[in-house]
């Protein structure tokens, strides 16, 4: 009997493991990747973003502003994971957890002036070098006015 229970538990464990799909970020390929929204080729990898869709597809973006425009148009239901490059470390970080800094004079591919960091400390350190900015969270980006600011 114990043997059967063990087998059933093992099978359940395997099934649960299968259902928890992970969505890993993929590398940018500058030769072919273009922003899903604005069509610019991705040449400034330090600002790139990507969305891993639940169906296995990836959508690539050149700037956090374009990524947010995609989410606004398509919703979050089909998103498996969303990543943005950490401006300080050149590593992929979770869009929903990242700390953002806005300064109209920060250059980004779309000149939206918003860059991402994994921690508040990293953002503070960036501001001490590149100039003070406004700290933002993912929810602040929802109603952020994307565009060049005078």
């Amino acid at each position: 009997m114990k043997k059967w229970i063990m087998i059933v538990m093992l099978c359940c464990g395997v099934l649960v493991g299968c259902s928890e799909k992970t969505y890993e970020p993929r590398e940018i390929v500058s030769e072919t990747d273009v922003c899903k929204i604005c069509n610019m080729s991705i040449v400034h990898n330090a600002y790139a973003g990507q969305i891993a869709l639940k169906n296995g597809d990836y959508e690539i973006f050149d700037d956090i502003g374009c990524l947010m425009e995609y989410i606004e148009a398509n919703g979050e239901d089909e998103i498996g994971a969303a990543y943005i490059k950490d401006a300080a470390k050149d590593e992929w970080i979770d869009v929903f957890e990242a700390v953002y800094v806005y300064n109209k004079d920060y250059w980004t591919p779309m000149n939206y002036g918003v860059v991402a960091f994994d921690t508040k400390e990293a953002a503070q350190e960036w501001m001490s070098k590149e100039g003070d900015g406004q700290l933002l969270t993912y929810t602040d980006l929802d109603d952020f006015k994307w565009g060049i600011h005078e």
Binding site: S30, E31, T32, C38, N39, M40, V43, N111, I148
Partner: protein, 426 residues
């Protein structure tokens, strides 16, 4: 050693060595010593350093004058000044060749820029004219390179008669008011000319060949694109011209040839595409999320696989010539009697999935397109031209008489007759 040998060695020395020795002339000292308005003449020679100009002078080189940047700093920096001219100099370096900041009145002419990441970088300046500058970038992929000529946050700019190759964007323009880009040639780069956040801009008589995209216009207002030649942009993401989030644009008298997509309009309003020649593009004209007043009129579409495609919003087609139009003109007014319908199922699919482009001439797609032509005859609104022009606009050659040619011909004929007659009588 014989005298001839000595002379030979001396000549070889001057031929190979004199060009590469460091020149004695101190460029920075000469700049510092010059009074405002003076001309600093830099003799031929190779000058290594990072030179800075902060007063209104003219830097004039001659054949063989070369400034070579040391380290990551630019070869020449021009800052916080007015009325500067730099001419006839070759520049090279690891990063940027020339950086100009806060300059009112800058003229760069007859410059050769080679082996650099970025050619010319201008920011926060006005009244700038950059002409007859040749920029050749390094070998390699464009993602690893800088721009040929880049202008940021500036006003009243003229960029003309430049030749740029192998860079990221040939001419990059960001946040600029009033700019004319004309008679430039950009090849083998990412974008020929890239406008962002610019207003009151003109791109005229430029030639863009073999880039990813010829003209990339983004978030720009009030732009005229006229008489440009945009050809051979055939990459997976290649466009002759791509307008994204553009308001008020006129695209006139351009030759748009052999591109993956000739002209693409995205999220734009009030765009007029008039009297252009679309030849042999995979898709000639594409529009997504464009305003109702966007119109393509009096263009000629010849040899394109797909003439036009769009999302549901579509755009207007008026009085264009289509080589695949099969109607007739019984009224003899120069326009076909039945509308031309450009809607194609496959074209619409390609808008959604660009990878479908690889099936564009497959037998099943050809069959589908033929069926479309029969079925879509009832289409009334989307991508329909109710006045398709039947003949391309050719200039009528009139019987012109060249008086000089006629007189010369008459004289030669009469002379020949006279000589012939004289030959007979003798």
């Amino acid at each position: 050693m014989g005298l001839v040998k000595k002379i030979g060695f001396a000549l070889l020395f001057y031929l190979f060595v004199s060009q590469t020795v460091y020149a004695d002339f101190d460029v920075q000292n000469a700049i510092d010593a010059a009074k405002p308005g003076e001309v600093v003449h830099i003799p031929a020679g190779r000058y290594h350093g990072n030179f800075i100009v902060t007063k209104p002078i003219m830097l004039q080189g001659e054949e063989g004058t070369e400034l070579i940047a040391e380290g990551n700093e630019p070869a020449l920096r021009i800052e916080n000044t007015a009325n500067i001219t730099v001419e006839n100099i070759t520049l090279s370096g690891k990063n940027k060749a020339i950086v100009a900041s806060n300059v009112d009145g800058l003229e760069l002419r007859k410059l050769q820029i080679e082996d650099v990441h970025t050619g010319v970088h201008v920011q926060s300046s006005k009244n700038v004219r950059i002409h007859e500058v040749n920029v050749t970038g390094n070998e390699g992929h464009y993602s690893q390179k800088g721009n040929g000529i880049a202008v940021f946050k500036s006003e009243d700019i003229i960029i003309e008669d430049n030749t740029i190759e192998q860079v990221q964007d040939g001419i990059y323009v960001e946040d600029v008011k009033r700019i004319v880009v004309q008679r430039n040639k950009v090849t083998n780069s990412r974008y020929g000319t890239h406008f962002m956040y610019t207003s009151d801009a003109e791109a005229l008589f430029n030639t863009y060949l073999h880039n990813v995209t010829g003209l990339m216009i983004m978030m720009t207002k009030d732009i005229l694109l006229e008489s440009n030649t945009v050809a051979n942009h055939v990459d997976f993401n290649g466009y002759g011209m791509l307008l994204y989030d553009v308001q008020q644009a006129e695209i006139k008298f351009n030759t748009i040839k052999n591109n993956r997509t000739g002209v693409a309009l995205q999220k734009s309003s009030n765009v007029q595409v008039e009297t252009n020649d679309f030849q042999m593009n995979q898709t000639a004209l594409e529009g997504t999320k464009v305003s109702e007043d966007t119109t393509a009129s009096n263009n000629s579409f010849t040899g394109n696989i797909l003439t036009a495609r769009s999302d549901k919003q579509g755009f207007k087609l008026v009085g264009n010539y289509y080589d695949d139009y099969s109607g007739i003109d019984l009224e003899d007014n120069g326009f076909g009697d039945v509308p031309y319908v450009a809607v194609s199922s496959f074209g619409q699919w390609m808008v959604r999935q660009p990878v479908y482009q690889y099936f564009v001439e497959s037998p099943s797609v050809i069959l589908l397109t033929s069926l479309d032509r029969q079925i879509n005859k009832t289409e009334k609104n989307m991508l329909v031209d109710n006045t398709p022009r039947l003949a391309m606009k050719d200039t009528e050659e009139k019987n012109k008489m060249n008086v000089v040619q006629m007189l010369v011909g008459l004289f030669l004929t009469l002379s020949s007759l006279w000589l012939w007659k004289r030959g007979i009588t003798e």
